[in-house]
Amino acid sequence: MIAYVEFAKKAFAREATYRMEVFTEVGSLVVRVYLLRSLWTALYAQNAAPQSMPYHSMITYATVALLMSLILEVDGTRAIRERIREGTIATDLMKPISLPLYFFSDGLGQTLLHAVLVVPSLLFALLLVHIDVPSPSVFAAFALAFLLGYVVNFFLNFLMNAVAFWTLETFAIQLVVRWVSDLLSGQIVPLTFFPGWLGRTLFALPFAAIYSTPLLIYVGVIPPAQYGRYLLVQVLWLVLFGGLAALVWRAAQRRVVVQGG
């Protein structure tokens, strides 16, 4: 167990050495917050505001979604793909550790550094745009949903990167899944905006568990009475993807094809 804590610490330290990248990230986030506010302001000025999402909720939604992406876009499992390509996965496998857990800890370490960044970004964002701050109980539900979404997101990334065990190259798959999930997870547009059957389908997809559920809890579209139902759906996706990841990992270990050497 100590080893995994060490992995997370080392990943945190490693990420922190790329200072320029860190500052650029905060800067670009602030710009994106401002642009998104302008976009939604213009859209709301031209159209009748939807019942479920008044203007203020929308600005809050878009801003919090951006802050979340700072954490969720960290992909610790990307290392799987790189290590398979370089062949170093062989030396990793010669260690007495669970590699999925290793990648999770490494990703967590990176995430924690990015989480620290969220604080100044949040302050800037609050200066630029006014966002709603929910009551502590709503915030707690949001935090829990975010945590569940984080793990679902980890498993999804893990599965995508583990494809490299079979194809050695996963860039195209990554790109497609990334596009699809950005749109369908509610990161860009709230899923409540999609009409009829399309909206219902999107809510049923696993991507909704990543962004949509925590965000809709935050802005109050999901009322406290329905928390249980939505969180349960998240847990179901988590268990399903977790099981799938375990199966894929077992199969992958049996077919390690080490590049070179």
Binding site: E6, K10, T91, V256, G261
Partner: protein, 336 residues
């Protein structure tokens, strides 16, 4: 009780058959014709604890595939394998605690971190007790002279420094067995010697079992008594180095240094290879003529100031075996 035992071990790789030409490339994209290649076939071997064995073979002979199966990262196609009482591919993680690995071409150190931090991470991975860790670190830092670069990031180390770091990293958790894959590749003479010294010490002092895979036969000649030769996935020789030398190294070279140059340099049953004025070199077959006879004749003929006999290098012997194939000692001996 052998510490490593393989029985009839086989590994066959299946790869997509590629066809030539632009049309062929397209066909490869859609067709799924496979070719099978036996990387390791029917390998049976057994090592006692504390042995130091050279595992030798040309490129693609199946050395690395065998090592990968012993470390548990490749599953054999058939046959059985046991390392320190475990079946490696079934218990990869327990097996990993018993073994250390050094790849000459690939580092297990963490690229961005100072060397010492890699060691600390490995301490956590293998849960090495703190005092044991301190003892080992002290000993290895001394033996491998790592003090000056312990705090340097790995990516800034020279190859020789990195290899020394890799050796310490592989031995930190006191493994029972250590696999060395081309550990001296690309190193200068001094660094090679330091690494060989370390391997010898680890083997004798700690009783660590060592499997040494290398192209540099000088490593093997200096370190081990037993070699296993593999070619095309099959073991062709397993035994002491002396025996293979005796069997194949039938030629010796006699070097004479004379007080003054001579023109008439012939000796019976020996072939003059070079005559550099005062230094004469003869090749002779030890089965047709004995060295002392030859020397007696030479002494009677020339004013000799120095005599030496050169043994054949293991390298030239092995090269011959690869080209000609290995003949079992009981079969007809090949003419030289």
């Amino acid at each position: 009780m052998p510490i490593i035992r393989t029985d009839d071990l086989c590994k066959t790789f299946r790869s997509v058959k590629r066809e030539s030409g632009p049309g062929g490339a397209l066909r490869t994209l859609f067709s799924r014709a496979y070719v099978e290649k036996a990387a390791v076939s029917h390998v049976t071997m057994s090592l006692e604890a504390g042995e130091l064995v050279g595992y030798i073979g040309p490129n693609g002979a199946g050395k690395s595939t065998t090592i990968k199966m012993l470390t548990g990262i490749l599953v054999p196609t058939s046959g059985s394998i046991e390392v320190a009482g475990l079946t490696p591919y079934r218990s990869r993680r327990e097996n990993a605690r018993n073994i250390g690995v050094v790849f000459g071409q690939r580092s297990q150190l963490y690229w961005d971190l100072p060397l010492v931090e890699s060691f600390e991470l490995l301490r956590a991975i293998y849960s090495v007790p703190r005092d044991r860790y301190r003892q080992n670190m002290k000993r290895f830092t001394e033996m491998l002279e790592m003090e000056p670069f312990l705090n340097t990031p790995v990516r800034q180390l020279s190859l020789g420094q990195r290899m020394r770091g890799d050796f310490a990293a592989a031995m930190l958790h006191d493994p029972k067995i250590i696999y060395l894959d081309e550990p001296t590749i690309g190193l200068d003479v001094v660094a090679k010697e330091a690494i060989r010294e370390f391997i010898r010490d680890v083997n004798t002092e700690r009783g660590t079992t060592v499997i040494l895979t290398t192209h540099d036969l000088a490593d093997v000649e200096r370190l081990s008594r037993r070699i296993i030769l593999i070619d095309n996935g099959t073991i062709i020789y397993d035994g002491p180095i002396e025996r293979i030398k005796e069997q194949y190294g039938t030629h010796r070279t006699l070097v004479l240094t004379l007080a003054e140059p001579t023109h008439d340099a012939g000796l019976p049953n020996a072939e003059l290879i070079s005559n550099e004025g005062r230094v004469l070199r003869y090749r002779f077959d030890r089965r047709t003529v004995r060295a002392d006879e030859l020397i007696r004749i030479a002494m009677a003929r020339y004013p000799i100031t120095d005599i030496s006999i050169e043994e054949p290098e293991l390298e030239s012997i092995i090269r011959r075996i690869y080209v000609e194939g290995y003949a079992q000692p009981d079969s007809k001996e090949q003419p030289v």
